[in-house]
């Protein structure tokens, strides 16, 4: 069975609410069948609007959305057959768990026996067997969440949308639910479009992540690529931590560039810079900069320790390097070799491939 790589397709979609500001600008996005794709971005970046357009609660101002090659802009939400998990679960408070799950089946005129079977199956999938007769109000937040997931899946939709479904849960529960949703997705192979502003959640669960900002997809790639190889400074900033240097390209050759800073010069990997004189932001992940490394690296500097924060498994060290006093280092607590004390000066190094020269901020 070949999987359709354009199962959901946003084709040049624009969206504006007031005719003045575009919330979504020229969105082109292909989602393949069975994929878990996450729309990640700060609030107001247009990710929820995209989800609502897909669900049918908003219409694109321009462009078209295709589901399995059929344009769906003129199909009302109830005919799209898309399951949805809402931010606040949206369980029907006057119905029992069973009735909530049976609702999508009843409106589809499924026979009573089949409803019972499907509800049973869906509840066991989220390990809530035996809760059929509870009211949603009698369930904990995590249990309500599971019911909402089960309800969105019980009628075997082709696509399931999830709009920040874990936002209201506490940290531990959120993490365990992340795995649970991921496993459900893996076992039934449904296409999931997931919206969140929590990057940890996005990195843990997704096949691919679309980072939204300012109504546009800034980068669409797998979690590891997104983290290791951000294509612009917004993505580098938004995903994980990074240390930045503002500067100007002074030389570019052989896949390397020299960036002149206010104080000193560094060697970097040119990503968004083309020629000498370009302004740039150089981004380095904290864990890529090492203290007194054993192998040779092409960037070696001295830094003064300004702050030491103990984090249990690691220690965060804030340094002043090349005039940047916000340079963060993560030092594993197992390394006893270094003299990390406030005011000390230490040697730090990184490879130029890890210092990505991106667009200027």
């Amino acid at each position: 069975m070949s999987k359709n790589s354009e199962f959901v397709k946003f084709d040049k979609v624009d969206k504006s609410y007031d005719g003045k500001v575009l919330v979504v600008k020229d969105l082109n996005l292909d989602i393949s069948e069975g994929e878990f794709i996450t729309m990640l971005g700060p609030s107001g970046s247009g990710k929820t609007t995209c989800l609502m357009m897909l669900a049918g609660f908003e219409t694109p101002t321009n462009g078209e959305i295709y589901l399995d090659s059929n344009p769906i802009s003129n199909i009302p939400p109830h005919k799209r057959g898309i399951g949805m998990v809402f931010q606040n679960y949206a369980l029907f408070p006057h119905m029992t768990v069973y009735e909530n799950l049976a609702f999508p089946l009843k409106v589809r005129k499924v026979s009573k026996d089949d409803i019972d079977k499907k509800v049973d199956k869906a509840l066991s999938m989220v390990s809530l067997t035996g809760f059929e007769n509870r009211m949603p109000g009698q369930l904990s937040g995590g249990q309500q969440q599971r019911v909402a997931v089960a309800r969105a899946l019980v009628f075997d939709p082709a696509v399931v949308l999830m709009d920040e479904p874990l936002g209201a849960l506490d940290k531990n529960l959120r993490e365990s639910m992340q795995y649970e949703i991921k496993h459900i997705h893996e076992s039934i192979g449904v296409t999931v479009v997931y919206v969140t502003h929590d990057q940890g959640e996005a990195l843990t669960m997704s096949n691919r992540i679309a980072v939204f900002n300012d109504g546009k997809v800034q980068q669409l790639s797998s979690p590891d690529k997104l983290y290791e190889e951000p294509v612009n400074s917004f993505v580098a900033e938004f995903i994980g931590e990074n240390n930045t240097f503002q500067g100007e390209v002074s030389d570019i050759s052989n896949g390397k560039c020299k960036v002149k800073l206010k104080e000193g010069e560094i060697v970097a990997n040119p990503i968004n810079v083309k020629s000498k004189g370009d302004k740039t932001t150089v981004s380095i992940r904290p864990e890529r900069a090492l203290i007194n490394p054993s192998q040779k690296m092409d960037n070696n500097y001295k830094g003064k320790i300004e702050e030491v924060i103990y984090h249990g498994d690691h220690t965060r060290v804030r340094l002043n390097v090349l005039g940047n006093s916000d340079f963060i280092l993560k030092v594993p607590n197992s390394s006893q070799n270094i003299d990390i004390k406030l005011g000390n000066t230490i040697n730090i190094s990184w490879n130029s491939t890890d210092a990505r020269a991106l667009d200027p901020k």
């Binding site: 109830h78 057959g81 399951g83 589809r108």
Partner: protein
């Protein structure tokens, strides 16, 4: 092992329960003092008047006190034939005393309630009594007017003997206790009250339905529109609420009268001819229109407060799960608004069955309600006990409706805002 050995003590050795009570006592007194003014106010302005009303509606000591000797003499009389001489004599003495005290008019009024025709024969008796001779009062009284020789009039007096009577309640139901002490209906052409009760219930019922039908979409709009529009709409709902009831009713009179604006409009668009303008006032139509408009906010506000709490994502969930907009509304939204519907309907219905000013002004003869009848007896006939009886029946009706509502929907579900 006695319970004392188990008793928990505080660090100072006082039993924990005693210590707790002592600590709580101050708070309890404080709480009571806080509500005491309201409690007192309620007792004075609500409980006491209602008790007084209940008492007044059944109190019948006035006649008993005015004719003490008569009723004593009547104790032995079986009521089948004309009473014996002693009764006539006692009645003469009682009445003479009342005439001297100049309070005989009240007796005439009271006995006339019981049986028509008492007023004139008592007046005649008062005039002729001056020339009465000692002894054989039966003969002399019977000679004053032939009604005094009719046993039914004497039975009517005897019926007023007990301290307590429920005759007012029977009267409000167009029934009376006849000469044989049996409850029977008054003649058909005099059955006014039952019509009024039924009309009151009918109008209250339909006004509630009309209010519900009009308020539901308004409340839904209010709850779902963006803030700037919903505020304006809210003011539109509340503005009539802030206007005097009398002014609003008067403006309906201007609109609805035969030469009024609505009729002018109908004639202008050619809906009706100039000669046969419909009567929209001084009948039920007027009462329906004006009462629905006036009571509408009482339906809108509870509905609005409930709808405001329903998350819009519930309707979306209903639709995304495959329900058509109607199914999503009927299965998801509507059931969640039931507490508001209950509260609104209960409120409007209870207000409507006791409504007074509007039906009095625009109702005419066919649009007045039981409350207008109560007011009529309070102000015109001064039969306060009858008015009290009808008032209490109205109150009982409201309590019954409340009880039924509680059984059907549950009072806990009411949401007034």
């Amino acid at each position: 092992m006695s319970s004392e050995t188990k008793q928990i003590l505080t660090t100072d050795g006082i039993p924990l329960e005693v210590s707790l009570k002592k600590a709580e006592k101050k708070n309890k007194i404080k709480a009571f003092l806080l509500v005491a003014p309201l409690l007192l106010f309620l007792i004075i302005t609500y409980i006491f008047p209602i008790g007084e009303m209940l008492f007044r509606s059944v109190d019948d000591r006035m006649v008993t006190n005015m004719l003490p000797k008569t009723f004593k003499a009547m104790e032995k009389w079986d009521g089948k034939e004309l009473p014996p001489e002693e009764v006539f004599e006692a009645f003469y003495l009682d009445y003479k005393f009342l005439v001297e005290k100049k309070t005989f008019g009240k007796l005439a009024t009271q006995l006339n309630y019981e049986k028509n025709g008492f007023k004139s024969i008592l007046k005649k008796l008062q005039r002729k009594m001056k020339k009465f001779e000692q002894g054989n009062y039966k003969e002399q009284i019977m000679n004053v007017h032939k009604r005094w020789a009719n046993v039914e009039y004497w039975r009517a007096i005897k019926r007023r003997a007990p301290d307590i009577t429920y005759s007012k309640y029977l009267k409000a139901m167009d029934m009376y206790e006849n000469e044989d002490g049996k409850i029977s209906q008054v003649s058909e052409d005099r059955r006014v009250h039952r019509i009024l009760w039924l009309r009151t219930l009918e109008i209250a019922f339909f006004v509630t339905i009309l209010c519900f039908l009009m308020a539901y979409p308004i409340a839904h709009l209010l709850a779902t529109l963006p803030m700037k529009y919903s505020n304006l709409l809210m003011i539109c709902v509340l503005l009539p609420f802030w206007t005097s009831l009398l002014v609003r009713t008067a403006s309906w009179m201007i609109l609805l009268q035969q030469q009024g604006i609505v009729n002018d409009f109908f004639v202008w668009i050619g809906l009706v001819g100039e000669e046969n303008r419909p009567e929209m006032m001084y009948n039920k139509t007027g009462t329906y229109v004006a009462m629905t408009q006036i009571l509408l906010p009482f339906m809108v506000l509870p509905l609005y407060s409930v709808m405001k709490t329903i998350s819009p994502s519930l309707m979306r969930a209903g639709k995304s799960l495959g329900g058509t907009p109607f199914v999503a509304f009927w299965k998801v939204y509507f059931p969640l608004t039931i507490p508001g519907i209950g509260a609104g309907c209960l409120l409007v219905f209870i207000l409507a069955i006791g409504y007074y000013i509007t039906p009095a002004l625009v109702g005419g003869a066919s649009g007045t309600l039981i409350s207008n009848q109560i007011a009529f007896h309070m102000k015109s006939t001064l039969d306060w006990s009858f008015a009290s009886a009808m008032g209490l029946m109205l109150l009982t009706g409201v309590l019954v409706i409340y009880w039924i509502y509680n059984k059907l929907v549950g009072v806990d579900n009411i949401k007034l805002g």
